[in-house]
Symmetry: C2
Subunit: 298 residues, 2 copies
């Protein structure tokens, strides 16, 4: 994370090198081989010593860098590159997936974003393999795709609420790994993020939706029912992450009780993903001096 913004002596003594800082952030948030979801404190702020004010300022300070990288990704596609990015967001209801889209993805040009929200599948979608509807929404070259929920619902809610047979769900982990390897091999970098909130924080957020008339439309009585399965959902996430966090398509688990932290962390993870791609402005495919003359004469 950008050390300048945290405003503490400890932070400002770090290297002023966002790539190095982002590498540290990744290390802190990566779901590696010994990952345990119940060891992650949803209220913590790994890699960032500052508070909300400094975090909000750091988010704004990182906007231009992210926006520039997105434009380079887009520009490269115009010159024929086939690469893209896919930000996949999962988390319990109210974990802040929409806020990430609005406040992080919203920092870049809408022309470069392909957003897909996956709700309960339609009848047509249910008639196909569970990956069918997801494949159709994969980002085109040059784009940042965003999945608000995804094929992981088919091993999360399906497992917890027994919407599919256990042996079918068991097969899906392998199918997901194969699918994601294929996506990565095609040139699309996946950034898989779980926004991790506590059950108490969810209660506070749902409560707000019942207090404000401008929030009623976001409230769904079914969300309270799902709270009864909280522990089962945590276990389903643990299993899904264990089985599908691979070196090429790793999971990052972002503590999300503090919205400002989750947004800042995802911004930096996304920036780091784009930095990895070593993007550059495409060279001219025409004779610049000749074109200057033609234009002057036109």
């Amino acid at each position: 994370m950008a050390p300048k913004a945290s405003g503490t002596a400890k932070a400002s003594s770090r290297k002023a090198d966002s790539t190095a800082d982002n590498a540290e952030l990744r290390r802190l948030l990566l779901a590696g081989p010994d990952f345990a979801l119940d060891a992650v404190d949803p209220h913590s702020t790994p890699g960032f010593d500052g508070g909300k004010k400094a975090g909000t300022a750091a988010l704004a300070a990182g906007a231009d860098a992210l926006s520039l990288l997105q434009e380079k990704l887009f520009a490269e596609s115009r010159a024929g590159s086939g690469i893209a990015v896919l930000l996949l967001l999962q988390g319990m209801d109210t974990s802040g997936k929409g806020g990430i889209v609005r406040h992080v993805v919203g920092l870049v040009d809408p022309q470069g974003v392909q957003h897909s929200a996956f709700k309960a599948p339609t009848e047509e979608e249910r008639s196909h393999d569970f990956l069918w509807r997801v494949r159709r929404q994969l980002p085109e070259a040059g784009m940042i795709g965003v999945f608000d929920r995804s094929h992981y619902e088919d091993v999360l809610v399906h497992r917890v609420r027994s919407l599919s047979p256990a042996d079918e769900i068991e097969k899906r982990y392998g199918a997901i790994r194969a699918f994601e390897n294929e996506v990565a091999a095609s040139g699309t970098r996946m950034l898989k993020v779980m926004l991790h909130i506590s059950k108490d924080e969810q209660k506070a957020r749902l409560s707000e939706r019942l207090e404000r008339k401008d929030k009623f439309w976001k409230y769904n009585p079914g969300d309270v029912d799902e709270r009864g399965y909280w522990q089962q959902y945590q276990e389903a996430y643990q299993t899904a992450i264990e089985r599908t966090s691979t070196p090429d398509t790793p999971w990052y688990v972002v503590p999300a009780d503090r919205k400002w932290y989750a947004r800042l962390a995802v911004q930096h993870l996304l920036t780091a993903t784009l930095e990895d791609m070593q993007l550059s402005w495409p060279p001219a495919t025409f004779d610049v001096e000749a074109e200057k003359k033609r234009l002057a004469a036109s």
Copy 2:
């Protein structure tokens, strides 16, 4: 336009009522029955007395109002409304269509935006009626659709470069009117905007693309060829606007030599379009007090 922002005595004597100001702006920019494109000065700033600094501040000042209206539009769709908005952008190369998307549409939540850029049609698209690909991209309920170019290319470049027979183009004006009436009747409000730049301003903008290595990717030698048909394009726009500006689906012609003005004008036109829809937060479809108790017990 917001009178506070223009910073002149004349402007601040106007009513501080954005709806009234937006009504005036619409009147100034509307392509009515006697519309003449060659009477519109691309360098003018109708309805706004201030300069670039005040205009940029006014754009920022209008962001929250636009964002709130977009959220209401989206919320209503969740409660079952079928309404949507379609912002259709046309203009010569470099007229700033992309800048409108980035700086005006970019002010609202990406979750509520469906952006479509229409390039030269693919083979599949060419095998269908010219409206086929456009219909497929109409915004879903609750969304703000954005068309960067549109079915109007089929009566603009097709007319100027004789890509279709004259009698076929002649039929298309009627087909467009019928199509757009149908779109309006289905509950989608269309905001059709032509960004009007001068030939000199286009030269300056193309020239910048040849001076900066981070702009080469935007330069297309074909753009210089098209400059040779400038007057024919103006005439094709005049005809298209004359034939398709109707009370329900009017055209607005926005002077666009000053980017800050074009962005501010389109922002206000879009805000006014949403204000017309008299959006409101959907009421609760559940018993709020009962849900509070269920949540507290969960």
